[in-house]
Symmetry: C2
Subunit: 154 residues, 2 copies
């Protein structure tokens, strides 16, 4: 339902949220997220374009979150890749559906609404902190070496 | 959230459900669904491959539903195009997530579950009959000429 690219974006954002004060290189992110480097580079460009992360090129460069993980919802990440859009008008522009969606488009819209509510109401920070026994990405080699307690700015 | 192709598939299946006893040509379907012919041809191939419709080539040929619209759920149509899959094991194969998904994948799975429930529980027939004041596709030129009361086999 959510694309592979979206899943990769969520993994990347999770990793960056664990290390909010560091620039994390694409190679490091690839190691943690288990996403192929070339694919990951494109995902990171999309996240940067959406204003969720910021980067610095060159030696010692990398990416970090542009704002606190408390202020980034899961929906923000999803929308940076494949925006979930409500259906507000008849996609076929049928005249007699202008005031009221038909059951087909009404149900598609209801599903979009549900997903927007499910993912819009939780921040990246809260999701990562939700269950200390199984933190996202926590068992990948690199994150085993860092403190999984997120910093104050995260 | 659901792809354009899925939306086109749902429009096509709706049209065929209105006329369960007829072979409807790709050109006729294109007229009703407002989907470009070439794109539609590919959508119909996917629906045929999934066993939802059956076709006959040549003059007078076309497609019809392979089984009753009462026995085809909206989820069946969605799954013919972009299957919605539950997440049952950690996509990163992290050892300590083998018994329990992390909150990231747990939430992605919960969303998939919701959508499967929303669309798995309603048949194409019931959706089309749901609101007689706004039937899907009902104002397109071709369907204005046919009886929107679905046949017994639909």
């Amino acid at each position: 339902m959510l694309s592979q690219t979206t899943e990769y974006a969520l993994r990347s954002m999770s990793c960056l949220a664990y290390m909010p004060d560091e620039l994390v290189s694409t190679a490091q992110l690839a190691e943690v997220t288990l996403v192929p480097m070339n694919y990951l580079a494109k995902v990171l460009q999309l996240l940067a374009k959406a204003g969720l992360i910021t980067g610095r090129r060159g030696v010692g460069g990398g990416y970090r979150l542009k704002r606190s993980a408390r202020d980034i919802s899961i929906l923000d990440v999803i929308n940076a890749i494949d925006p979930i859009e409500r259906i507000t008008t008849c996609p076929l522009h049928l005249e007699n559906h202008s005031g009221k969606l038909c059951p087909l488009h009404g149900r598609l819209d209801a599903a979009a609404k549900t997903i927007i509510e499910q993912f819009g109401g939780i921040s990246l920070h809260d999701m990562l902190a939700e269950d200390p026994t199984v933190r996202p990405l926590c068992n990948t080699e690199m994150l085993r070496r860092v403190d999984l307690t997120m910093g104050e700015s995260g």
